[in-house]
């Protein structure tokens, strides 16, 4: 079995709560069938206190071969590099020390969520807690373990970024690691698994027709595209949220609010209010990934003038007020 140890530090525990929403009729069986054994997980294991201490000692001494160390939450280095903003209960030792030591014996090290990957929300603003990710501090390589860190299995830290992470991203990553099929080339330039990070949130967005015609939402609950006014970054954010929905049939854009690009380093401090799109001369500053600005401007102006009345009216309503015309499908 592929042995996984899961620890939490500077975060909300939401990636664990999200993990429990994995799409399966029997969560423990799904892990077991994937060859995965949870040595310990903060929400799921019986072991507490002394029992956990023994397990950590066994991992560090090599009595238990640790296949994957999963860290959820940012690493809190403060105050003044001491790590005292999170001293692991019952041990008197800062969590960053535990993580450094355990990362040294683990075959793979997995950052679960954007806090563990980059610092994330925990590192927002002045970052008083000196929060960072395992191998990144925002987009700068380094973090707690250092730019050169390579786990014993040969891979750098695997960044399953997201706030929270999609349960499928975590399960797929662990199953691929357990099967020995996750290679260095399966990670993108930010060390995220490419199976989800090579896509954009825009792909599969149910508001695509509004996007095509730049028929924009103006207020919460409007059906239109949220890129122009509402701060949506789905055309730039790397993730498959709209082709692999959340909690059944959901996603941020399907929930009526903007993608805030939570899989990307530094998303917590975008330099503008989250709910509004920053613009320069009426043009959004953040253009769709890979799209030249001149073409965006040209296409936007063309598509706006070509917007069907139906799309235009529905864009600023919370339900369909004009239905699509019914066309005969057969040739005459």
């Amino acid at each position: 079995m592929f042995k996984v140890l899961w620890l939490q530090s500077g975060g909300c525990g939401g990636c664990s709560m999200s993990l429990l929403c994995a799409d399966t009729a029997d969560f423990p069986a799904m892990l077991r069938h994937g060859g995965i054994e949870l040595l310990w997980h903060p929400s799921l294991s019986l072991a507490s206190g002394e029992e956990l201490m023994t397990l950590l000692d066994d991992c560090l001494a090599g009595r238990i071969a640790l296949d994957a160390l999963c860290i959820e939450g940012a690493l809190l280095r403060g105050p003044n590099g001491s790590g005292r903003f999170h001293v692991m209960a019952g041990t008197g030792v800062p969590m960053i020390s535990w993580v450094r030591r355990l990362a040294g014996v683990a075959r793979h090290v997995v950052a679960v969520g954007s806090c563990a990957a980059w610092g994330g929300i925990s590192a927002a603003g002045a970052n008083a807690t000196e929060a960072c990710g395992l191998q990144y501090e925002d987009e700068r390589k380094g973090g707690l373990l250092g730019a050169g860190f390579v786990a014993r299995g040969g891979l750098p830290v695997i960044n399953v970024a997201g706030c929270p992470t999609h349960p499928g991203w975590v399960v797929d990553t662990l199953m691929a690691l357990a099967a020995g099929t996750l290679r260095a080339e399966d990670l993108d330039a930010l060390q995220r698994p490419r199976f989800y990070a090579d896509q954009l949130v825009h792909h599969g967005c149910t508001r695509n027709e509004y996007y095509e015609f730049k028929a924009s939402a103006e207020k919460p609950s409007d059906l239109g595209c949220m890129m122009e006014h509402m701060g949506c970054k789905g055309t730039q954010a790397h993730a498959d949220c709209n082709s692999r929905p959340w909690n059944g049939e959901g996603s941020c854009t399907r929930g009526g609010y903007a993608c805030i690009s939570c899989t990307e380093p530094g998303f917590q401090d975008p330099g503008h209010a989250f709910h509004m799109t920053p613009k320069l001369a009426g043009i959004p500053i953040g253009l769709p990934t890979d799209m030249p600005k001149a073409w965006f401007v040209a296409l936007a102006s063309l598509s706006k003038s070509a917007t069907p009345k139906r799309v235009k009216l529905n864009a600023t309503a919370d339900h369909v007020v004009v239905t699509p015309a019914i066309r005969r499908t057969r040739l005459k």
């Binding site: 500077g10 929403c21 206190g49 956990l52 005292r84 609950s221």
Partner: protein, 487 residues
């Protein structure tokens, strides 16, 4: 003989927790509760656009995420003087209830019950059944509960896009309008969850459980079929282990009121239930204060502050401090909050009777969550049926550049309040008092211990036992959320 024990890390408490016990003559004489992490959300919010709170605060907590969103949305609504239209109010109540009930389910099956599968109880008559049903990661009912929870949260997938960390909850209501066919699918999911509760958790119709009005009725219901359903299994082991009186509370129960309708009324009323006086007192928000004497915070502070003017300045070297949590007090007194408090304040007959006889305890806290599961699912069905597809879910609003506001709600774990000050269009101060801040508070300046600290006093500790299981039961009976506490 006096010995000192440091118990931790606790798990199944949503975050990290350490408890220091002073044991004298085989019993806990003193307990000190340490929330051993600092996160700093309050200073982090300073200087930001007020609506950025809707992105940040759900991320305080991965398990009370919607509750945090609702508190922030209500603070912003208070500031903007806007109220959600009926559809918006119903949708927000549905989302809150979905999260709160999922938390109750998670607490019972994954956090609380697994401790009774420990080998220390191997000789007890109910042990084999608990192992079969609720052992961590293997119990048949625990696994079924995870599956039921997964299905249940697809309700939030539709209503809020995802869970945790939705941004569909705002001051004007919900950003996601529900149409008639979606409502049908949501109703089907509610009924599916109701079936799980009736088959597995209660072994009885929800109405039958919700109608139990006294301890005598509960006992008779239990005696009829003591192994049927997991509530009765809990009642069996609770009676055997004396959980009815284990882990007493302060006798003052705080609730901010749950499930607010569009007209401002609550399905579960707000207030303070004073058990000693046997009286329901009005909620006096002005009497709330936070005392940082024993927190690694606010060294320069000489007296407790109201959260509207509260501050949060970390100081890891502060003398006399032992936790990152402040000590909230109501009129200077310790209170307990949570499902039991919420139901005591609302006047739920069974819980008033049970806690009236034995006080707050492991037994009554756990019972209150299960009763809430039985009561709230039917309300959710009614809220869904009350939606008017085609009518608005959201009202337009403008957040003013200046002002002070408060946003209150009940999270699964109890009273959650956000106090907001805005100046020049930016957040000037943001203070959060979370449910576990109350329950797991440290001592205050007068040396009065917090609710858990007091509840642990008197517990028997066998010689050599480094992790007394009764301590685990009492700690987990509060369903602590440490990540909220250390916001």
């Amino acid at each position: 003989m006096t010995t000192r024990l440091i118990v931790g890390p606790f798990n199944r408490v949503e975050g990290d927790l350490e408890v220091r016990l002073t044991v004298e003559d085989g019993r806990v004489a003193q307990a000190h509760v340490n929330a051993p992490m600092y996160r700093g959300f309050e200073p982090m919010l300073g200087g930001r656009d007020p609506q950025d709170a809707l992105v940040f605060v759900p991320r305080i907590c991965g398990i009370c995420s919607v509750s945090q969103s609702v508190a922030a949305a209500r603070a912003l609504a208070d500031l903007a003087q806007v109220a959600p239209p009926p559809n918006g109010a119903h949708t927000i109540n549905l989302m809150l209830a979905c999260e709160n009930l999922a938390d109750h389910l998670t607490h019972f099956y994954l956090f609380f019950m697994p401790d009774f599968a420990r080998p220390v109880y191997a000789a007890r008559p109910w042990h084999a059944t608990v192992v079969e049903r609720m052992a961590a990661m293997s119990g048949s009912h625990a696994r079924a509960a995870i599956a039921a929870r997964q299905r249940w949260f697809t309700i939030l997938g539709t209503l809020g896009g995802k869970w945790p960390h939705t941004q569909s909850v705002g001051p004007g209501g919900s950003s996601r309008a529900i149409d008639a066919s979606e409502r049908l699918r949501l109703l089907a999911k509610l009924r599916e969850f109701r079936a799980f509760l009736e088959d597995t958790t209660f072994g009885a119709p929800l109405d039958e459980v919700a109608a139990l009005a006294s301890e005598a009725e509960l006992d008779a219901w239990h005696a009829r079929d003591p192994q049927r359903g997991d509530l009765r299994l809990f009642l069996s082991l609770s009676a055997d282990l004396g959980l009815r009186t284990l882990g007493p509370g302060p006798g003052r129960y705080l609730s901010y009121g749950a499930y607010r309708d569009a007209a401002g009324g609550h399905a579960l009323a707000p207030g303070l239930w004073d058990a000693q006086a046997g009286a329901l007192l009005p909620l006096d928000l002005g009497a709330i204060s936070e005392d940082a004497t024993h927190a690694w915070l606010n060294r320069s502070e000489t007296r407790p502050r109201h959260p509207a003017v509260g501050q949060t300045e970390p100081d890891a070297d502060k003398p006399g401090a032992y936790t990152w949590n402040k000590a909230p007090r109501l009129a200077g007194q310790v209170v307990e909050t949570g499902a039991l408090a919420r139901q005591m304040v609302a006047g739920q007959a069974l819980l008033r009777d049970v806690a009236g006889r034995h006080g707050a305890s492991v037994h009554s806290r756990v019972l209150a969550r299960l009763i809430e599961l039985a009561c709230v699912v039917p309300w959710m069905e009614a809220w869904l049926l009350a939606l008017r597809p085609g009518e608005p879910f959201h009202a337009a609003f403008t957040v003013p550049a200046e002002g002070r506001a408060v946003g209150l709600t009940e999270a699964a774990r109890g009273a959650l309040g956000h106090w907001l000050a805005v100046h020049g269009g930016r957040i000037a101060n943001y203070q959060i008092v979370a449910p576990t801040s109350w329950n797991f508070s440290p001592r205050d300046a007068a040396g009065t211990p917090g609710a858990l600290e007091a509840a642990l006093v008197g517990i028997e500790v066998a010689p050599g036992d480094k992790s007394p299981v009764a301590v685990q039961h009492v700690v987990r009976s509060f369903d602590p959320c440490m990540v909220c506490t250390v916001h």
